[in-house]
């Protein structure tokens, strides 16, 4: 150990600071410096891999925790009061005793913090001691070490299925193509494998990587928390720079899969790793209720000051009125008496101490506890558990549970949220010819019919079905109900099956595509005609489908367990499909003659001969890609393998082609397309295949270069566009496919640019994108595909329920208007009889006039008395461009006024930023509670902008879930989350808070009234210990239990009658008036509780504490019985807590007054309760006072419930009926209402279910024509184009 001067140390520390703060870091290998002391290490400035997430250290725990705790206002208030109590002239209690509440609260908090910190310490230690392999120069091999030993600059070897200890720059893998697959679900939750590529051109020439030969400098950016971006280049000794990005970075926390081992260079370690930088604590939002509560706390403060002022003035005038110096006026120690005004001034502070409980500090602690309990129940709801993904509801924000009960606007994403985001290939258009894939559609319909038990199949042709059925004697049972029940049984089986596989991959629905016969013929014709040239557009189209993606192929033999599970699932599914086709034969007989052929095809595919390709499993980043690859597979174009440099495809002829992959221009939301540049193995041409959204492709179409093709490209484009429009109308997602042959010269010049862009550190993204745009021009349109994104289970029901609950549902989607409208109908966002306003304008001026006209129209319409009953609900469809104009400040109000009139709003083609803007504008301008629900990265903005963000843990990764406050696995869970848990949490918490205010005021006022009889001297007639216990033990648990467990209406009723949700919206139950009514009640009750005993004990020999004891007891009974009136459902927990509180009061008080003779001078409660309890007067007083105190509230409840029962009360009454009758009632009521549509905001119940008013009359379509703009204001009633399954 050599001595270094302190100055040197400081200088070194500063240098380290500078090195860490630099934008670029130069890292070199540690190996040459191995064994040297710390000061000589080149990377010594960068932190090691040991992590420490603990907040405190053992020695400094107490001061640090205290410092932490004093950041809370409440604690400062407490301590301020305690300090005030230490000032002799103002103290109300024994100074030491006044410290108790703050000490109890702070030590409880400290205990909790310490425990949490200890947990963190344990997990840190566990992580730090995980094993890993670091290369050692001395030993010439990888040595087993711990994670904490890893340093920046080390070489770490990771084996298959091991977790990566630090952020590594991948240098070498066991894979021949230097690829390493990692699973990042730990970080972003996406379950597919990510491909990482070893840095090329460094040292991977040897079969075994030699770390010692590494003598380059790694230059990388400063650590940041972006999981998808990393910029770095490696400078070789010969100054050549090789760029690397995220694709070469192995992140800490990921798991290596399918690769035997990988070696990486540690770039970031410990807290600088991306995963650690992303590791933030839970988010804190402030709920609406809490904001209101804070206002009421301010009222409490005002009240406290008023009361203290009364005390001060009272004391002053009392002193002033005294004729002399009475013997009970105690001078201070020097025998001097303060002047009345000074005494009055001091009294003000004494009063603050005395009445401090008026400000419900403990309320905040109680609310926190209540919310923990509420979250416990929400997460434990078995109805919101998804067996497929094995996930429960997650509450990420701990303190906004009650906001769920007040939602007025729901903003929903479409893809993945309303729809399953499980893409099913439906139809395609190639070279301007449409191939409808009828057989495929039938297959889907059958599966659909089985899955959701929609009556479509039965309803369409029930008669023939029945007859065929009776002819087909193989079926047992002879009515539809029977079959349906069997379907249901099968469905259950299906669920149990999927529960057994741990991760749901593509279902058989997505993987199996039945090819179109026409297209097959066309394809075989093309194949034979083109020979080996492979330049037929049909073949190109399918090649594009197969190649133009980033799908990773993994074999079923891979080590990942899930893959094999998925494989068995697929096999099972096929068997089921066959069984199904047997059972459902009656239907196919009349529906399609293709059926048989089709079935044969399926079976053939099942045969062992074809199973080699069946072993393939595709893992795609987006489900669209997987659907397309599966579709191509159905036509014989099978993607066999994908490496960074090549793609292998098997053609229908059985020939395998290996395409050299020159470049992959990945998808981004700006370009809305992706491309691959490959070298065709036969023609040796560079071919660019591009796929993308139609509007992103259509404008890039160039003049046709393939002159040999008959027909005009223009026509193809027009025809394809027409088909695309049709697809969109059906609600299909469309993609266009193009091809471009790139000349060798162009490619060479472009690839130089590309390399430069890739190696750039500054503006890398833009440069890369620009280079992509540069190449994607003059495309040749091959065709388009339509992919169906199926609606999630129970989405229409959920939307209807939300709407009945008074929630406006907005759907914000990036899809085309037609697609969106169609989905809107499918999910019952738009109804047949709705008045749909379609807004789509090109410039601001027309937008303004359009808004004005529409608004006028809508107003006139709703004002028309003839339309009071028959008004169809208004829905608004608006596209992104119009939305931008409508949200500008001058039009915003008009737009919102219009939107307010609309029952549902559908925004199409909106960008993520627009989504969040819409949410923000609605939230801020309309002052409503908003909820945003989404599943993808594009919804993150919206989720963060809304009051409540809900993420759906679906197919598109976890970004949305990470940003959300609550995460659910299906859209349908929103229904129970809002209608049941939201309602419960809100009513529980609102009632608990009101009760808490009441409780404190009622209790503290007893002390206040006593001041009128003790000369405003600040005397408390209750022993201070008992006062503390009263708040801490005797009356704290019941309200917390009330806030966690009270249940006003059962979950079944809340789900059955969504209107009940409206009680929480707007101001809800926690109104200003509610607060003041309960305050008044508290005043009344405290008056009663004080003055009845006062009058009873007037002019008797009662002493201070003997007078206080019955007051305390009465107060306890009143407060607890008051709660009993409020409790709606008594379970055993309620009984235990309530009776336990009373028992505890008596036991503790009796013990305290039995033991304590001189323990708490000067107050001396010895034997007081005992003597009181021996006195019958005590009981008589307790009974009458409690009755008188609670009579008004009791009467109020009774009268309100009898004369004007609230909807909730009616629901509670229904709740008491037996489940059967209740079910019947709800059903009847719903069926009636369903026929009429719900607009009434009241819980008005229809007179009779049979009295339905037919609503066939559609209103006259008011049309407003506007030049140059598409504008329709009409009733869209045609549903013939809607997809079969809706």
């Amino acid at each position: 150990m050599t001595w270094t001067s302190p100055l040197e140390l400081v200088r070194d520390a500063l240098r380290g600071q500078r090195a860490r703060d630099k934008d670029l870091r130069n890292l070199v290998s540690n190996l040459p410096y191995e064994g040297l002391e710390k000061g000589k290490q080149p990377n010594r400035y960068f932190p090691g891999n040991a992590i420490k997430t603990t907040k405190y250290s053992l020695l400094l725990f107490i001061p640090m925790n205290l410092f932490e705790q004093f950041h809370r206002l409440a604690n400062i208030y407490f301590v301020g009061l305690a300090i005030l109590n230490f000032i002799p002239v103002v103290n109300a209690f024994q100074p030491e005793v006044a410290l108790i509440p703050i000490c109890v609260i702070m030590s409880l908090t400290a205990l909790k913090d310490a425990w949490e910190d200890f947990r963190r310490y344990q997990s840190d230690r566990k992580l730090n001691n995980m094993p890993c392999f670091i290369y050692s120069r001395r030993e010439k091999q990888y040595m087993g070490r711990h994670w904490k030993d890893v340093q920046v600059g080390d070489f770490v070897k990771v084996f298959c299925n091991e977790i990566i200890p630090a952020d590594l720059l991948l240098l070498h893998t066991s894979d021949t193509s230097s690829v390493c697959l990692v699973e990042m679900s730990n970080l972003d939750g996406e379950t597919n494998l990510k491909q990482r590529r070893a840095m090329s051109g460094l040292c991977n020439t040897d079969p075994e990587f030699e770390p010692e030969s590494f003598n380059s400098i790694v230059v990388c950016e400063k650590p940041n928390n972006n999981l998808n971006h990393f910029k770095c280049f490696v400078e070789k000794p010969d100054k050549e720079k090789v760029g690397a990005g995220i694709e070469s970075l192995l992140l800490r926390g990921c798991t290596v899969r399918n690769t035997d081992h990988a070696v990486g260079f540690v770039v970031f370690a410990g807290h600088e790793t991306k995963s650690m930088l992303n590791n933030n604590g839970p988010r804190y939002k402030r709920s609406k209720l809490e904001r209101k509560l804070n206002i009421d706390v301010i009222f409490c403060v005002i009240l406290l000051f008023a009361m203290c002022l009364v005390g001060a003035v009272g004391h002053y005038s009392w002193l002033q009125a005294l004729p002399g110096v009475p013997p009970y006026l105690v001078p201070d120690s020097s025998g001097h008496l303060d002047s009345p005004s000074l005494s009055g001034f001091y009294m003000f502070f004494t009063m603050i101490i005395l009445l401090q409980v008026l400000i419900p500090i403990s309320l905040y602690l109680s609310i926190e506890l209540v919310k923990i309990g509420q979250i416990f129940f929400i997460t434990n709801d078995v109805d919101m558990y998804d067996p497929d993904t094995n996930s429960r509801v997650q509450c990420k924000s701990l303190n906004i549970t009650e906001d769920l009960g007040q939602i007025e606007y729901v903003f929903s994403d479409k893809t993945g949220t309303l729809t399953e985001n499980k893409m099913v290939y439906c139809r395609c258009s190639v070279m301007g010819t449409e191939y409808p894939h009828k057989e495929n559609a039938i297959r889907l319909a059958v599966l659909e019919g089985e899955e959701t038990e929609e009556d479509v199949i039965f309803n369409q042709k029930p008669q023939p079905a029945k007859t065929t059925w009776s002819l087909d004697g193989s079926l047992e049972g002879n009515n539809f109900v029977d079959t349906r029940q069997r379907h249901r049984g099968r469905r259950r089986r299906k669920l149990s099956r999927s529960a057994s596989t741990d991760v749901a991959f593509s279902s058989e629905l997505e993987t199996e595509v039945v090819p179109d016969r026409m297209l097959l013929q066309q394809l075989s014709r093309a194949q034979s005609s083109s020979g080996s040239g492979m330049i037929d557009p049909y073949l190109d189209f399918f090649l594009a489908l197969t190649i133009c993606n980033t799908v990773v192929v993994s074999m079923a033999t891979a080590q990942r367990q899930r893959v094999s599970a998925q494989f068995t699932a697929a096999v099972y599914g096929k068997r089921r499909w066959r069984a199904l086709s047997g059972e459902k034969r009656w239907m196919y007989i009349f529906t399609s003659c293709y059926r048989k052929r089709n079935r044969n095809g399926t079976i053939a595919e099942d045969s062992p001969a074809a199973s080699a390709s069946d072993n393939l499993s595709y893992e795609a980043e987006s489900p669209d890609e997987a659907a397309l690859v599966h579709a191509a597979k159905a036509y014989g174009f099978i993607l066999l393998a994908r490496t960074p440099d090549s793609v292998t495809v098997r053609l229908p002829s059985g020939k395998e082609l290996v395409f050299e992959l020159l470049a992959t221009l990945t998808f981004d939301s700006t370009r809305k397309r992706m491309s691959v540049l490959v070298r065709h193995p036969i023609t040796k041409e560079c071919v660019l295949y591009t796929k993308g959204a139609d509007y992103a492709i259509m404008e890039l179409l160039g003049t046709p270069y393939a002159e040999h093709l008959s027909g005009n490209q223009k026509n193809i484009a027009a025809d394809t566009q027409h088909h695309l429009d049709c697809y969109a109308k059906e609600g299909l997602r469309t993609l266009c496919f193009t091809k471009k042959v790139v000349s060798e010269k162009l490619y060479e010049s472009w690839s130089v640019n590309r390399q430069r862009a890739l190696a750039a550190i500054e503006n890398r993204e833009e440069l890369v994108m620009d280079s992509a745009v540069e190449l994607e021009t003059n495309l040749f349109l091959l065709g388009a595909t339509g992919i169906e994104d199926r609606l999630q289970e129970s989405v229409p029901d959920t939307i209807v329920a939300l709407r009945e609950a008074g929630i406006q549902v907005w759907v914000l989607t990036g899809d085309k208007t037609e697609t969106a409208v169609n989905i809107g109908y499918a999910c019952r966002l738009l109804e047949e009889e709705d008045l749909v306003i379609n807004m789509n304008c090109k410039n601001k001026l027309s937008c303004t006039s359009l808004l004005d006209c529409t608004l006028e129209e809508v107003r006139r319409y709703s004002a028309d008395p003839r339309n009071v009953d028959t008004t169809p609900d208004i829905s608004l469809v608006i596209d992104g461009r119009t939305l931008t104009m409508a949200l500008e400040s001058d039009l915003r109000d008009r737009f919102l006024a219009l939107a307010k009139c609309c029952r549902s709003v559908l925004c199409c083609r909106v960008t993520p930023l627009q989504k969040s803007r819409v949410v923000k504008v609605v939230r801020e301008k309309l002052k409503v509670m908003t909820l945003a629900v989404g599943d993808g990265a594009n919804d993150v903005n919206m989720i963060q902008a809304a009051d409540v963000g809900v993420g759906i843990s679906g197919q598109e990764g976890m970004q949305a879930v990470m940003a959300s406050d609550f995460s659910i696995s299906h859209f349908k869970h929103l229904r129970k989350l809002l209608l049941v848990h939201g309602h419960w949490c809100y009513t529980r918490l609102a009632n608990m808070i009101i009760y808490f205010f009441y409780k404190n005021v009622a209790y503290v006022n007893l002390l206040f009234w006593y001041q009128f009889f003790c000369g405003f001297s600040g005397t408390a007639m209750i022993d201070y210990w008992l006062m503390i216990f009263f708040n801490l033990f005797f009356t704290s648990l019941p309200p917390i239990m009330f806030g966690i467990m009270d249940k006003d209406v059962s979950a079944e009723m809340l789900l059955g009658v969504p209107e009940l949700y409206r009680t929480g919206q707007g101001a809800g139950e926690y109104k200003f008036s509610t607060f003041w009514v309960s305050m008044l009640d508290a005043f009344y009750q405290s008056l009663v509780c004080f003055f009845i005993p006062y009058l009873a004990y007037k002019d008797s020999d009662i002493d201070v504490f003997t007078f206080g004891t019955p007051l305390n007891t009465i107060s306890l009974f009143t407060i607890l019985l008051h709660l009993s009136i409020e409790i709606k459902a008594w379970t055993w927990v309620h009984w235990v807590v309530m009776l336990g509180s009373v028992a505890m009061y008596f036991i503790v008080t009796l013990a305290y007054s039995g033991i304590c003779i001189t323990c708490n001078p000067p107050s001396n409660p010895y034997w007081i309760l005992q003597s009181q309890m021996a006195d019958p007067m005590f009981y008589l007083l307790c009974i009458i006072t409690t009755v008188v105190a609670l009579l008004p509230r009791y009467m109020f409840h009774v009268l309100r419930n009898s004369i004007a029962p609230s909807p909730l009360l009616q629901a509670r009454q229904l709740d008491r009926m037996d489940p059967c009758a209740r079910e019947q009632w709800i059903k009847e009521w719903r069926s009636f209402r369903g026929s009429r549509g719900v607009k009434c905001s009241k819980f008005s119940t229809p007179s009779s279910p049979n009295l339905e008013t037919p609503v066939g009359i559609h209103p006259q379509s008011p049309t407003v024509s506007d030049t140059g703009d598409e504008f329709t204001l009409n009733v869209l009633t045609d549903n013939c184009e809607r997809t079969l399954h809706t």
Binding site: A92, S123, L127, N161, S185, N186, D188, G253, R257, M276, N280, P326, Y328, V330, S333, S334, T379, N380, V382, Y385, N390, R392, C1014, G1015, S1017, G1018, T1019, M1021, I1092, K1098, D1099, D1101, I1102, D1103, V1104, F1107, K1128, W1130, T1158, P1161, P1162, W1167, P1176, L1180, V1188, L1191, Y1194, M1195, V1198, N1201, S1202, I1203, R1212, Q1213, L1214, R1216, W1225, W1229, T1245, S1248
Partner: protein
């Protein structure tokens, strides 16, 4: 925020999944128990006119008899009160009340005659009453040392700070210290029965059995134990400033002397309200029946206690006692009133129930 799930626990989970054995993932399915699913069987009372009707009638029917009983009991209690403050010129104690002094060596005596209309039977309690005396003033209440009164020798010599400024006098500790003790009521009251034949008979007043049992035998103790010589024990202490004699001379009876003197104990139990009475003497085990026959009485007061400084009044109260304590008709009236109100409300609710009750029938809600 993105990687919140990145912790040891989750990594554990993943390791087990991917391990060679391929163990199954632990199901996170919530338990389907009544508690966790919030389906505990519950009693759901609904407060409507129909359901609470009986409660109101029952309350009414129970309260009214109790109230009548209380009222009658209270009325049966005999109570007589005489104010001897002497504010009026005509009052016999006027002269005494003018000579204000705590420590006047010459005791001032006044006699107040009164007439009892009814004979008092059973145990009769004699109280002194003070009004406008704020024994519950915060600083007054605190001005005592309980451990001193508990017989603690250390506290005897070094009284608690709370006793300031009545802790030391002439550098000697005051026993008992504090403002409460210092302001102890020190009038002496004697009751004479004027026999119809003209003789004045002293009514025997017992000065023991007036304090709480626990106070006398647990809370208050003389320093040095029961048999100690009080004069010696209190050596070196000073009497409270306003007192005429030291604490060990309060009574000749050694079991009622010093800190366990019952007059002192009663005084130390500070009254809750500014107008209060304190038990002074009892008349029990009287030889004659009734205890106090109706007739003329004379109250002889040794007038020491000054109340003019706070406009206080002094009273002597004679009262018999019942199971519910002293005379106070309030509780009886209150019970009767509340009972009647409940009964009335019950009737109102009955009407409401008949008028609106049908609507609450769930079968009709759908209509």
């Amino acid at each position: 925020m993105m990687a919140t799930s990145y912790n040891a626990k989750d990594e554990d989970g993943h390791i087990t999944v991917s391990g060679p054995g391929g163990g199954t993932l632990r199901s996170r399915k919530p338990e389907n128990t009544a508690f966790k699913q919030q389906r505990l069987p519950a009693w759901q009372p609904i407060l409507t006119a129909g359901t609470v009707l009986p409660a109101f009638f029952i309350i009414g029917l129970i309260f009214i008899p109790i109230g009548i009983g209380l009222y009658v009991t209270s009325n049966n209690i005999r109570e007589f009160e005489v104010d001897y403050t002497g504010v009026d010129m005509s009052s016999p104690c006027f002269n005494c009340s003018q000579n204000y002094s705590w420590n006047s060596s010459r005791p001032c005596t006044c006699t107040i005659p009164f007439y009892l209309e009814q004979p008092y039977e059973g145990n009769v309690y004699m109280y002194y009453g003070l009004s406008n005396f704020y024994q519950n003033h915060r600083r007054y209440v605190k001005s005592r040392d309980d451990s001193q009164l508990h017989g603690d020798m250390d506290s005897l010599l070094t009284p608690s700070k709370e006793c300031e400024p009545y802790a030391f006098h002439d550098k000697k500790p005051i026993a008992p210290c504090g403002a409460i003790a210092n302001s102890m009521f020190n009038d002496t009251l004697e009751l004479f029965y004027n026999d119809p034949n003209g003789t004045k008979v002293l009514v025997p007043l017992a000065n023991t059995g007036i304090a709480w049992f626990t106070d006398k035998y647990v809370k208050f103790k003389n320093p040095g134990g029961d048999g100690a010589n009080l004069t010696a024990v209190f050596q070196g202490t000073s009497k409270p400033v306003n007192w005429l004699k030291p604490v060990y001379e309060l009574d000749k009876n050694s079991s009622n002397n010093g800190f366990i003197n019952e007059d002192f104990i009663v005084w130390m139990r500070t009254a809750a309200l500014p107008t209060f009475r304190k038990l002074y003497r009892t008349i029990k085990d009287a030889k004659v029946i009734p205890t106090l026959p109706s007739g003329n009485y004379t109250l002889e007061v040794v007038y020491n206690y000054p109340v003019r400084s706070f406009e206080g009044r002094k009273r002597m109260i004679l009262s018999t006692i019942s199971w519910m304590g002293g005379k106070n008709p309030f509780l009886g009236i209150a019970y009767v009133t509340v009972g009647s109100v409940c009964f009335f409300l019950g009737v109102v609710l009955l009407v409401i129930h008949h008028k609106c009750g049908n609507r609450n029938n769930s079968a009709d809600i759908s209509n």
